[in-house]
C-alpha cells in the first residue's frame, strides 16, 4: 500500500533532533580557569563576595570530593566526564543587575525566546495575566533576575538568588544549607557543594501561604561549562509553597554536565509542592552531545504533619541520574513522588525516588510512568524504607512502563526495607507496549498514527499530569508529544 509506505518514510524523516531550545546566545562571559582546584573555588567564592564560612564550607567539600569516586551502580553507560576540562564558573560580563532594566538585552531576548516572562510589566500585562508566577532565572552560573520581588516581600516571603541569601540571611542559610543533603552525601552533591555558583533560595514564614507560584528557569549557555545550581527551600510552620522548575540548554556536540542539589525543608504542618519540567538537550539521534543530568534532590519533612510532593516530567538530557526523595521524619508526615520520564533516541534514564519513613504514621505515594522509545533505556529505581520507630508507615507504589517500538528498554528496580512490622508497603508494576491493535483501533476511528500514539501515551501518563499546575500540565503534554515525534513507524 503506497500511502502507508509514504507515512513510514515521512515518520522516519522526522528525527528527535528538533530541539527547539537549542540556540546559543552570544554575550561576553567571564569564566574561571578551566578545571577544578582550591584556587578556582576561592575565585568563585570571591566573585560572589562570600563570607569566610561559606568559603570554608566549599573547601571542605572539595577536599572530601577528591577522595570520592563517581558512582557506577546506575544503569547508564557514558564516557566519563573529565572534571578538569570544564569551566566551573561562567557569568555574563556585565555587572549584576540592580533592576530588570540593567539586564543585558541579549539575555532578556534569550528568555523571551524561551517564553519566560522576565519583565514584570510583560508578566502583568502579558498574554496570560490571570496567573502570575515569580521567576528567578539562572543563566549559566548566575541568577540574572528575580521578578515580583517586592510583592513577595510584602508577604514576608524571601525569594532570591542563593548567592544573595548567603550575604543577606546568613543565619537561615547556615542553619539549613546541607542539612538535607549533607556535604558528604554523594560524589555529585559533594562536587556541587564545592563549586555551586547560584540557584534559588526560598523562605516562607510561619503560617504564610505563598501568594504566587515560584519558578526558576535554568539555562546552560556557555560551551564547556558545568551548571551547578543549588536550591534551598524552607517552609516554616504551617506555610505552603508551590515551586516550578524548568530547564533548557543549547544544542552542542559535546556533553555538558549539570550537577544540581535541591534541598527542601518542611517544618510542622508545612507543605511544599515542587514541580519540574526538565527539557535539557538530549543529544542527537546517534547519541552525540546532550546534557549529563546528575542531580540530587531531597526533601525533609522535618515537622509533624508536613508534606512534600515532587512532580517531575523528564523528557530531556542524554543521561539522567536523579532520585528526588523524601525523608519522613515528622510524625504523620507525607511524601509524594509523581514522575513521567520519557526517553527517545539514545537517551538513558535512571531515575526514581527514595521514601525514608522515620516518624510514626508517615505515608508516601509513588506514581512513576516511564515511556521508552527509539533505542533508549529507561530505568525506575526506588527505595521505600521504614525504620524501627516508623510505626504504622504506609507506602503505595505504582510503576508503569510503556514501550514504543522494539529497540528500547524499560527496567524497574524497587528496593523495600522494613524494620517495623506494622509498616504496610504496596507495590504495583506493569510494563506494556503500545499494541498495534490499539493503534489500529484509533486509526480506524480517524486518528493518524501519530495522533493515536500521542493519545495512548497521554492516557498512560494522565495520573501524573493531573498533579502539575495547570499551565505546566499543558506544556508538559506538548513536550511529551514533541519528545516522541519520530518514534512511530
Amino acid at each position: 500500500m503506497p500511502a502507508v509506505q509514504e507515512t513510514i518514510d515521512r515518520v522516519r524523516s522526522i528525527d528527535i533532533d528538533q530541539y527547539k531550545y537549542g540556540f546559543e546566545t552570544v554575550i561576553e562571559m567571564e569564566k574561571s580557569e578551566k578545571g577544578l582546584s582550591e584556587d578556582v573555588i576561592r575565585f568563585i567564592s570571591a566573585k560572589k563576595n562570600e563570607p569566610e564560612w561559606m568559603l570554608e564550607w566549599r573547601l571542605d567539600a572539595y577536599k572530601r570530593w577528591l577522595t570520592m569516586k563517581e558512582p557506577e551502580w546506575a544503569r547508564v553507560d557514558y564516557d566519563k566526564v573529565d572534571y578538569n576540562d570544564i569551566y566551573y564558573y561562567a557569568a555574563p560580563k556585565r555587572k549584576g543587575p540592580e533592576s530588570l532594566d540593567e539586564i543585558d538585552p541579549e539575555i532578556l531576548k534569550t528568555y523571551e525566546k524561551l517564553g519566560i516572562p522576565l519583565r514584570e510589566v510583560e508578566a502583568l500585562e502579558g498574554i496570560a495575566p490571570e496567573r502570575r508566577v515569580a521567576v528567578d532565572a539562572v543563566f549559566d552560573s548566575v541568577s540574572v533576575a528575580t521578578t515580583f520581588k517586592k510583592e513577595l516581600e510584602k508577604a514576608g516571603v524571601i525569594f532570591m538568588p542563593i548567592s544573595e541569601a548567603i550575604r543577606e540571611y546568613p543565619d537561615l542559610v547556615k542553619t539549613y544549607l546541607g542539612s538535607v543533603v549533607p556535604v558528604t552525601d554523594n560524589f555529585f552533591a559533594t562536587l556541587n557543594s564545592a563549586v555551586f555558583s547560584d540557584g534559588s533560595f526560598v523562605y516562607i514564614p510561619p503560617g504564610v501561604r505563598c501568594p504566587m507560584e515560584l519558578s526558576t528557569y535554568f539555562r546552560i549557555n556557555e560551551r564547556d561549562t558545568g551548571q551547578f545550581e543549588r536550591t534551598l527551600i524552607i517552609a516554616d510552620k504551617g506555610s505552603y509553597v508551590s515551586y516550578l522548575e524548568g530547564c533548557t540548554a543549547p544544542k552542542r556536540d559535546d556533553n555538558q554536565l549539570h550537577a544540581a542539589v535541591v534541598e527542601l525543608v518542611a517544618l510542622e504542618d508545612a507543605e511544599i509542592k515542587y514541580s519540574t519540567v526538565q527539557n535539557w538537550y538530549p543529544g542527537d539521534n546517534e547519541g552525540k552531545g546532550g546534557i549529563y543530568n546528575f542531580v540530587t534532590k531531597r526533601g525533609d519533612c522535618r515537622g509533624a504533619r508536613s508534606k512534600i510532593s515532587w512532580t517531575q516530567v523528564e523528557t530531556g538530557s542524554a543521561i539522567t541520574w536523579k532520585y528526588p526523595s523524601c525523608i519522613l521524619r515528622g510524625d504523620d508526615s507525607r511524601g509524594e513522588f509523581y514522575s513521567i520520564a520519557v526517553s527517545n533516541g539514545m537517551q538513558q534514564v535512571d531515575s526514581g525516588t527514595k521514601m525514608i519513613h522515620l516518624g510514626k504514621n508517615t505515608t508516601s505515594r509513588i506514581i512513576s510512568k516511564g515511556i521508552s522509545a527509539g533505542r533508549s533505556q529507561n530505568t525506575y529505581r526506588g527505595l521505600v524504607s521504614a525504620h524501627k520507630k516508623a510505626k504504622g508507615a504506609r507506602n503505595f507504589t505504582n510503576c508503569d512502563s510503556l514501550l514504543i517500538g522494539d529497540q528500547c528498554g524499560a527496567h524497574t528496580v524497587p528496593y523495600i526495607e522494613s524494620k517495623n512490622a506494622s509498616a504496610v508497603f504496596e507495590h504495583e508494576a506493569t510494563t506494556s507496549k503500545i499494541s498495534e491493535d490499539q493503534k489500529f483501533y484509533c486509526q480506524q476511528r480517524g486518528l493518524s498514527e501519530e495522533e493515536a500514539t500521542a493519545l495512548i501515551v497521554n492516557g498512560f501518563v494522565r495520573d501524573v499530569l493531573q498533579q502539575l499546575p495547570m499551565e505546566f500540565a499543558v506544556e508538559a503534554q506538548k513536550l511529551i508529544s514533541i519528545s516522541l515525534e519520530g518514534s512511530v513507524g
Binding site: A3, Q444, G446, L455, F460, R462
Partner: protein
C-alpha cells in the same frame, strides 16, 4: 457503494482470501456467514486497512475510489467504519475525550469545522440514550472495565456519532445476552438509511432476526460461494456449514 473485485490476501505466506468478489449497494444490508476460518474477520480488517495483511491482487472500491491505497485513518474519514469483534481498551483516555478526538480528526480530514463542545455533548448524549448507555460509562476510560455487552454498545455509539457511509459489523452479536442483542440491533436499525450500507458478519442466524439483511452471502475458504436473500440464513441455520467446510471452493 462498495465493490470488491478479485481480492487476494495473505498473511505470513498464508493465503486467506482467494479472489473474493462482493458488491454491496447503497442502503443495502448485506450479511456474510460462514464457518470459522473462512476469512470473514480478515475481510473486515482488510476493508478497514489493518497493516498486517498483504494484498496480492484486487481492488476495494468505495464509491468508485480504490481504498487500498489509503491509510486506515483516511479510510475512516472517507466513511468506512468497523465495529470490532473485540474492541480495544485505551487506559487513561476518557471515553468522551476519545470520541471527540476521533470525530474532529475525521471532520478535519474532510475539511469540515470542528464540532463545538455543546453540540458534541448533545450528540453523544442522544446516541447514548438510545443505546441505554449510562453517563457514568462515558466518564470512564474507553472500554476499560466494560463488560462484553457494554463494549459492543460503545462500538455502536461510535458508529452513530461518526455517521459513516459503510459499516462493517464483525460478529457484533458475540458475547451479547438477549437484551443487549436487542439494544444493539435497534441501534443499528436506527442507522439504516439511504447513503449508508452495512456488511454484517456473523456465525449465527439469530442476529439476522433483529437486523434483517437484504442479502446473505456465504463465505468459505476465502471466497463468496453462495449468495441469496434473507431466507438463505434460515437454510444455513437448519443445515449448518458442513457442506461449505468440505467442498472445495470453485
Amino acid at each position: 457503494m462498495l465493490e470488491i473485485k478479485n481480492l487476494v490476501v495473505q498473511i505470513e505466506d498464508n493465503r486467506i482470501l482467494n479472489g473474493l468478489n462482493l458488491t454491496v449497494n447503497d442502503g443495502e444490508v448485506a450479511a456474510i456467514m460462514g464457518p470459522n476460518g473462512s476469512g470473514k474477520s480478515t475481510l473486515s480488517y482488510v476493508i478497514a486497512g489493518k497493516e498486517d495483511y498483504e494484498v496480492l491482487d484486487g481492488e476495494i472500491l468505495l464509491d468508485g475510489q480504490n481504498v487500498l491505497e489509503m491509510a486506515a485513518d483516511e479510510r475512516a474519514a472517507a466513511g468506512i467504519f468497523l465495529a470490532f469483534q473485540y474492541p480495544l481498551e485505551i487506559p487513561g483516555v476518557g471515553t468522551m475525550t476519545f470520541l471527540k478526538a476521533c470525530l474532529n480528526a475525521q471532520r478535519k480530514a474532510r475539511g469540515e469545522d470542528e464540532l463545538s463542545t455543546p453540540d458534541f455533548i448533545r450528540a453523544v448524549n442522544a446516541a447514548a440514550d438510545k443505546l441505554e448507555i449510562n453517563k457514568e460509562m462515558l466518564k470512564r476510560a474507553l472500554n476499560v472495565g466494560f463488560s462484553g455487552g457494554e463494549k459492543k454498545r460503545m462500538e455502536i455509539l461510535q458508529m452513530a456519532l461518526l455517521q459513516p457511509k459503510f459499516c462493517v459489523l464483525d460478529e457484533t452479536d458475540s458475547g451479547l445476552d438477549i437484551d443487549a442483542l436487542r439494544i444493539v440491533s435497534e441501534g443499528v436499525n436506527a442507522l439504516r438509511a439511504q447513503g449508508r450500507s452495512f456488511l454484517v458478519i456473523t456465525h449465527y442466524q439469530r442476529l439476522l432476526n433483529h437486523i434483517v439483511p437484504d442479502t446473505v452471502h456465504v463465505m468459505s475458504k476465502g471466497q463468496i460461494v453462495k449468495t441469496g436473500g434473507k431466507e438463505l440464513a434460515l437454510e444455513l441455520e437448519a443445515s449448518g456449514y458442513a457442506e461449505y467446510r468440505t467442498s472445495e471452493a470453485a
